[in-house]
Symmetry: C3
Subunit: 138 residues, 3 copies
Amino acid sequence: MKSYREELWFEIPTRRALVNITPQVEASLRRSGIQEGLLLCNAMHITASVFINDDEPGLHRDFERWLERLAPEKPYSQYEHNVGEDNADAHLKRTIMGREVVVAVTQGRLDLGPWEQIFYGEFDGKRRKRVLIKIIGE
Amino acid sequence: MKSYREELWFEIPTRRALVNITPQVEASLRRSGIQEGLLLCNAMHITASVFINDDEPGLHRDFERWLERLAPEKPYSQYEHNVGEDNADAHLKRTIMGREVVVAVTQGRLDLGPWEQIFYGEFDGKRRKRVLIKIIGE
Amino acid sequence: MKSYREELWFEIPTRRALVNITPQVEASLRRSGIQEGLLLCNAMHITASVFINDDEPGLHRDFERWLERLAPEKPYSQYEHNVGEDNADAHLKRTIMGREVVVAVTQGRLDLGPWEQIFYGEFDGKRRKRVLIKIIGE
């Protein structure tokens, strides 16, 4: 069994953004040399997400509006977490979007459906944050 | 290490449905011959879900009503994604329900709790769509 | 390839609670002797969750209030599942919070970010319930 580990670093200039990281994950898989196995890709921060969906800007604006409806950023005072913090909503938004994806590795490639793209979801940006890629297989 | 890959195909006649796929996943695991490991089962489409919950029809009707409350299908115009599309709600519903499950494989069996059943959640049906099963172990 | 399996048992005295299980999961990993691999930790019950977030009491009260807003416990009659049952809301709350986490194992440690902690989320307690830990690697 082989294993491979890599971190991707981000510093998103806005509070929230969705970033397509599929090319970086594919490049990491190539560097691993693993042909068959499983790839874990997870946010290492609890106010960010890694998820799979469509790379379509209209849908991304829908996600923004929808997450704001389900877990609004403001007023900050509505959340007990926001004592010296203002990011409770980011913890909740990331819960909806998910922490991680596990992707099959087949013949050295990410085994994704035709429209599946991997995203980093930032919900409390303007700071350096990380994503972990861990691949096991052979 | 062994690895095994299989696709399950669906063509759901309605827009939305929840289908218990536990027997198909178990059959796939038997074909793999893997005794100890991890099994990934994921929707390969971004408007469908694989999730684990209870096989109880009342609960499934509750899921339908609840998802319609959190991410209503109509009016289609409420979503920016719906330009030549009408399935933005399906992307959001699948986000709530999740893309994938990872299940332990122990002594050649799906290592599930007593009520855990694996479901395919279709939120934009009437077309052919796929689920991926990838198993690694030995 | 090595594999390791362990169950954690809980009997939460209240209907709902969030319990930090990171120390138990770390202890399980040490017992496994696995240095590099993947660790799956999942609720074996469909009204409970395993998730990763922050160990901050204010945030946990925010989760309680937020989940009650998205999937209220009462009135019980609002759910079709609640025929001889009263836990439909627990199935929905656990769906939001997620069934499982997959964590990378690196150099014999849980490869978590600085604030990542693993929680058992109970949404229908006052009974004995289990979490499964399955680790594969070498």
